[in-house]
């Protein structure tokens, strides 16, 4: 640095203008007015605290920043409105709360925020830009007296770049304002360009930033046969075992451990009890060869896993069974004599024991599985259960099926209003088909869904589902009630009403 400075010193030092020092802000203001009135515009005042009226005294014109900010605010407003209109009403139309696609009241908060955001950023960045910031150095710092500007002195600077600047006349003018001191500032002669080491560093950073991009592009475009790079090796290869791998820890070398006898895996308790299923899996096994094999093998702890363990009916989806309930293997096909499913639809031909899985799955494809539905409630039905069913029905079912179960819930009505051709109306629980369905089938539908209806097995406990079934039965009964169904003490009232008609 010092070498360069001495080199520059041989050239004629360039003036940066004059600075005058004052002891209080009043003399600064007086001097500023005098300089302003002499026609100088490239001037500035430096003070230890904000001085009221200094802008006016120096003749500084009002900034244009407010207009830039106003423009930015309108840009933000316009951006927000266009963005919301385009996303909501054009690109991805989606009904929200039944409001129109282009819903101006809903857009106002975002429009407001974006107006503020754009304005705030523009104010901040615009202030920097208009003030020429960041400015890393100022020739005024060369003056030793100038250090007191942050403490107790006031300085007025007339820049040599002013178009009327004349060294002698400015000096005379400032001397006439009776400053504490008057000094000519010499332009900082050190090179104004950034040192080459900083350029080098920036260049290096820029090149380094290209490396990840280049690597990604190479990976995506190239067709190298080698495996991909492992940037995070310990994430790609973690010290753990995955299923189907071997181990030396256990004698059988299997890493996937068999179930401990006498325990039930989480979520696997269900599959044996009609309470959880709506049908009798024992009878199902007798009708379906695959299930049968499954059931038998699961009953025997030592049995090998069946090779053809592909799930074919929904009941088999977990593939694990309760080992605590061994079931007699039933090889004989029993006709479904006590299976009420016969009521619902013409009983499909009972699959032969040797039926292929495809054949067993056929009824599913036809619109619903034909399973040995149970027709008795597996729990006690009383008023509290029906009341629970009513509550849950009105929460989960009524939006589509309606409060009375007629299939006229609000969602359905809205869909009709919108004339959505693809809307499949919800089924009425008073449909004769549903009235004849055994309760097990209704339970199964609630649990696993049907058609467009989603399954509610994940959100409702089995007891709640049975409660809904009981409430559905109550709704159906309400349309077909006999006088015997009415409590004795109320029958007289109905007889009276009948007579009145």
């Amino acid at each position: 640095m010092s070498e360069k400075k001495s080199q520059a010193a041989t050239a004629k030092p360039k003036s940066f203008g004059w600075i005058a020092e004052y002891v209080d802000e009043h003399s600064l203001l007086t001097a500023s007015r005098k300089v302003r009135d002499s026609g100088y515009t490239k001037t500035d005042a430096y003070t230890p605290f904000p001085v009221h009226g200094i802008d006016e005294a120096l003749g500084i014109k009002p900034t244009i920043l407010p207009f830039i900010v106003l423009g930015a605010g309108f840009t933000g407003l316009f951006t927000a409105l266009v963005l919301q209109y385009w996303t909501n009403a054009y690109d991805y139309k989606y009904i929200i709360s039944g409001k129109p696609f282009a819903s101006w009241p809903a857009n106002i908060p975002v429009a407001f925020e974006l107006t503020i955001l754009f304005s705030a950023f523009t104010t901040f960045l615009g202030m920097w830009a208009l003030n020429g910031l960041p400015k890393l150095s100022n020739p005024l710092f060369n003056s030793e007296r100038f250090d007191r500007v942050t403490n107790d002195r006031f300085f007025l600077h007339v820049d040599s770049r002013d178009k009327y600047f004349n060294r002698e006349s400015v000096k005379d003018l400032l001397a006439g304002t009776k400053p504490e001191s008057l000094e000519e500032v010499i332009e900082d002669s050190s090179p104004t360009t950034l040192p080459s080491v900083i350029w080098l560093g920036l260049g290096f950073l820029f090149c380094a930033s290209l490396v990840p991009v280049a690597v990604v592009l190479n990976m995506r475009a190239g067709n190298d046969e080698n495996p991909r790079w492992h940037v995070f090796f310990d994430m790609d290869f973690q010290p753990k075992k995955k299923a189907q791998q071997t181990t030396t820890i256990f004698a059988d070398a299997r890493i996937a451990r068999p179930q401990v006898p006498g325990t039930v895996a989480r979520g696997s308790l269900v599959n044996e009890d009609p309470f959880y299923l709506g049908y009798d899996p024992t009878k199902q096994a007798s009708l379906n060869a695959t299930s049968n094999v499954r059931l038998v093998s699961a009953a025997d702890d030592k049995a090998e896993k069946p090779a053809d363990a592909s799930p074919d009916t929904p009941s088999d989806k977990t593939g694990s069974v309760d080992a605590a309930k061994p079931t007699e293997p039933a090889n004989v096909v029993e006709p479904a004599k006590d299976i009420p499913a016969a009521n619902a639809a013409p009983a499909s031909p009972v699959p032969a024991p040797s039926a292929t899985p495809a054949a067993a799955a056929a009824p599913v494809a036809a619109g619903g599985p034909n399973l040995p539905w149970i027709s008795e409630f597996p729990l006690e039905v009383d008023a509290s259960l029906i009341a629970l069913g009513k509550t849950k029905f009105e929460i989960y079912c009524s939006v589509c099926h309606g409060y009375a179960g007629d299939g006229d819930g609000l969602v359905h009505r809205r869909a009709e209003q919108l004339q959505q051709g693809y809307w499949l109306p919800p089924t009425s629980v008073h449909d004769p088909r549903i009235q004849e369905q055994p309760i097990g089938n209704i339970f199964y539908t609630i649990s696993n869904g049907k058609g467009k209806m989603a399954g509610y097995g994940t959100v409702l406990s089995p007891k709640e589902r049975w409660a809904i079934v009981s409430y559905v039965r109550a709704l159906q009964r309400s349309r077909n009630a006999q006088i015997d169904d009415v409590p004795v003490e109320l029958r007289a009232k109905i007889e009276e009403a009948k007579k009145a008609e």
Binding site: H52, D55, I60, S97, K99, P105, I108
Partner: protein
Amino acid sequence: MTTTNSSDNLKLPEAWAGKYLWCFTLGVILIAASGLVFFVGAPSKTEGLRFGMHSYLANFIYAISFGIGGMFFVLVSFLTRAGWSASIRRLAELISMTIPWVACLFAPILLVVAFSKGSALYEWNFANVEDIKESIVQAKVGYLNGPFFATRAVICLAIWSLIVGYYYRLSRKQDETGDVRLTLDRQKWSAVLMMIFALTVTMASFDWIMSIDADWFSTIFGVYLFSASMFGFFALMIVSFMVLQRNGKLKDEVNIEHYHDMGKFLFGFTMFWSYIAFSQFLLYWYGNIPEETAWFRVRISDGWQYLSYGLIIVHFAIPFLGLLSRHVRRHRSGLFFFACWALVVHWLDMTFLVMPNAGPFSMIMMFGHMLGGIGMFSLFIGFLLLRASDAPLVATGDPRLHEALSYANPLL
């Protein structure tokens, strides 16, 4: 600087002495004329009373809102130990001191609540609970009944009168003694009274305005009335000082810096009013629940939609864009125009709050309402002139007065 001023400079112009009698006469005549318009113009006597009372209430709220704004300004000046406003605070005190007199104008409303058969004004105002149409309103009669309503109104107006009376009395005492302790006392009480102010303004807005449509509710309603009152108050301050200075008074005590700050407040409360009004609307619009949207339903039908949607333009867009620039806020004529504008749209806002519940829009009714509005404003100006007739227009003994006189906005 004040001490060198002749005290004449701080008094009302001499030509104005006794003018309050003119104001009172004009006010009474116009209000009577508006009553005549309502009874002649309405299809029936019941309708006439209904429109008349709604109109009277809206104009009453308009008149008292200036006092509410003045009271808040005085309280917040002491709460924040504001120095810049010391020279303009006396006018705010005088405006707030109209409250005890404007409060007497509430009497007709109490009379209607006590004696009218059927709901001339308030949906809940029936002697028999069974006569109330809405079952929701029936359930609210424990709070909304004549005697309790009157009690609350009297308590509320009395509290306000006590607050403004206390601040005015100490301020006048300080004119003579210049005692700093008087300022400290008012500072001490300002925080507590500010909370009481918030509670009572909310209660007043709920009782007087919101309970017209008693099955509707909005917890933000008090803030709405507050924002509207401040908007009207600053407009009145700016207009008053401009008129006084045009008559040669207060030349040195109020300068462009004070106007600039009052203009900022006017601008700020334009924004705040819009923010509150829109917040209230957005939630109900989005929820779309019948009992919540009913209030807006009557305001966007039967001709009132032109007023309601028009307010967005005249009460938000025009003053917002107009006052956005500091050049306008520091320009006397520009600021005077928007302050006058604000006084008018503030009246439209009060009309929007009350009148749609009276019935469908009709020009003859709006004509009567406008006559009543001018009459009520005339009465208010009369009160203000009477109040200001024997007091200096600047708190000359205020220890912070020098701050206000040498006050300048930072930056250009």
